[in-house]
């Protein structure tokens, strides 16, 4: 069994200040890739963001981030991760309160 690749690595060809970089995220797929892409695009400091699944039998995705004003894409990535976490928390809270409120139809399903 060979070593497990790092969760996150910066691919060759990134700018030295990380204002433009492609990240390889191990053991992730469209699930995280597309959500992260969307959240990064919501950042006005991001000039370009896209993700790809380079090959279906390689268990990783590529995430390309380019920034305005030579800002760090890694910091934008961290911010997007935090924002997505807040988003998840908000959805869960809202779901729980709807469930607790109990104003929905209950029905008996035969199996």
């Amino acid at each position: 069994m060979s070593e497990v690749p790092p969760k996150l690595q910066i691919l060759k060809g990134a700018e030295a200040d990380l204002s433009a970089a492609t990240y390889q995220i191990y053991d992730e797929s469209h699930t995280v890739g597309n959500a992260l892409r969307w959240m990064l695009m919501k950042n006005p400091k991001v000039s370009f963001c896209g993700y790809s699944v380079p090959h279906p039998s390689e268990n990783h995705i590529h995430l390309r981030v380019q920034m305005y004003d030579n800002l760090s894409s890694l910091e934008a990535l961290l911010e997007a991760l935090n924002n997505l976490d807040n988003l998840c928390d908000t959805i869960e809270e809202s779901y729980s309160s709807s469930l607790a409120e109990g104003s929905f139809e209950r029905w008996d399903e035969k199996s």
Partner: protein
């Protein structure tokens, strides 16, 4: 069109054309959201949690002991799709993975029967178990990572006058007997592990035939094999929207025909002095969006079919250990775990100095891991 002001009406904001996906006879339009910073002049569409909180609406609509339907309004497709994908492929369950056959004289082959056994949904709570791993303590089966079942059935002829011909001529999922290992007896005391459905026929026997097997169930996720998927289906659809053109009302003599182009309950034919076609705003939800109305020339320009891009109607059928209302919180929990593992890695990269990308991707290593895992 001006929607009726009754309490049954949808919020006026659903008529905002920016939220609409167009549905035409042979294509759809405006599929992707455009609300990104810089897309519309003088509009700020950057991420704002408070605005998101204001627009978000999550509402449970129907709940049974096996399935749930809920609305998720105000999120992008990428988020809704992430939850759907996690529900199908990344929420863990337990399923039979190893089958040790001591004896099988039935007509069904060992490997076919083993496959069938793997697909039997089990009710054991995955939170109480650990994953099997290639290395470390969980490389070997132990009471923290493996549930053991026994399947021992022998068919015989029933005594005369008992009203049936055979005893045990059908092997069912209810015949699986859980054999507690180590501390499992106390851990699972509240709810002994068993199949969620006792009536799944696994094999058929005739007198003299028998099956004697030991089954090991492990914890894993649906992306490894569908038998570990906790759901029968997890899907969403976008809320349908039918907009009548006030400039071109439906002629009264065609009202019935118009109504029959939609699912029952969608079109109401009002009769206040004159026959008038109305769309039931709550009934709209159940429309199948069959596009039948677009096939009739007489209705051309009378009506627009749309869907609301950020209104997801989720339907989740739980088939494993989770109650249906627990499915979304589990998916959210896993999403947050994924985010936090990437965040940990990103923080390490940030503090470890920006080496600027001289690390080549380890292709061969990645390939090896793939092979070893499957």
């Amino acid at each position: 069109m001006s929607p009726s002001s009754s309490s049954n009406a949808l919020p006026q904001s659903v008529y905002n054309p920016r939220r609409h996906v167009g549905i035409h006879a042979e294509r759809i339009s405006d599929v992707s959201s455009t609300e990104y910073p810089g897309h519309y002049p003088n509009e700020d569409h950057s991420w704002n949690l408070d605005v998101f909180k204001q627009n978000l609406q999550v509402k449970v609509q129907r709940l049974s002991q096996r399935s749930i339907e809920f609305d998720l309004v105000g999120v992008d497709a990428s988020i809704a799709n992430a939850f759907r994908r996690i529900l199908i492929a990344e929420v863990p369950t337990l399923a039979i993975e190893h089958v040790y056959v001591w004896n099988n004289t039935s007509v069904i082959h060992d490997e076919i029967l083993a496959h069938r056994l793997g697909l039997v949904p089990l009710n054991a709570d995955p939170a109480l178990m650990e994953y099997r791993t290639p290395t470390g303590i969980n490389a070997q089966p132990n009471d923290r990572n493996t549930l053991v079942f026994q399947l021992k059935v022998e068919c015989s002829r029933a005594p005369r006058g008992s009203g049936k011909e055979y005893i045990n001529d059908e092997v069912k999922s209810g015949d699986l007997v859980w054999v507690p290992q180590g501390e499992q007896g106390s851990v699972f005391a509240d709810k002994p592990p068993a199949p969620t459905n006792k009536n799944i026929v696994l094999a058929k026997l005739r007198p003299g035939q028998e099956i004697d097997m030991e089954l090991h169930a492990t914890k894993n996720v649906g992306k490894e094999h569908a038998k570990w998927s906790p759901v029968a289906t997890a899907s969403y659809r976008l809320h349908p929207l039918i907009v009548l053109n006030p400039e071109k009302p439906i002629p009264p003599h065609l009202a019935q025909k118009f109504a029959s182009c939609f699912s029952p309950g969608v079109v109401k034919i009002g009769d206040h002095g004159e026959v008038r076609v109305l769309i039931d705003e709550r009934g709209m939800r159940n429309d199948s969006v069959s596009r039948e109305v677009l096939r009739h020339e007489e209705f051309a320009g009378c009506v627009e079919l749309k869907r609301i891009r950020d209104w997801f109607i989720f339907s989740v059928e739980s088939e494993g250990p989770y109650e249906p209302e627990r499915m979304l919180p589990e998916a959210i929990k896993i999403m947050r775990e994924k985010l936090s593992s990437i965040r940990t890695a990103a923080e390490a990269l940030l503090s470890g100095g920006n080496e600027g990308g001289d690390i080549p991707p380890s292709r061969t290593e990645g390939a090896d891991v793939e092979m070893a895992d499957s």
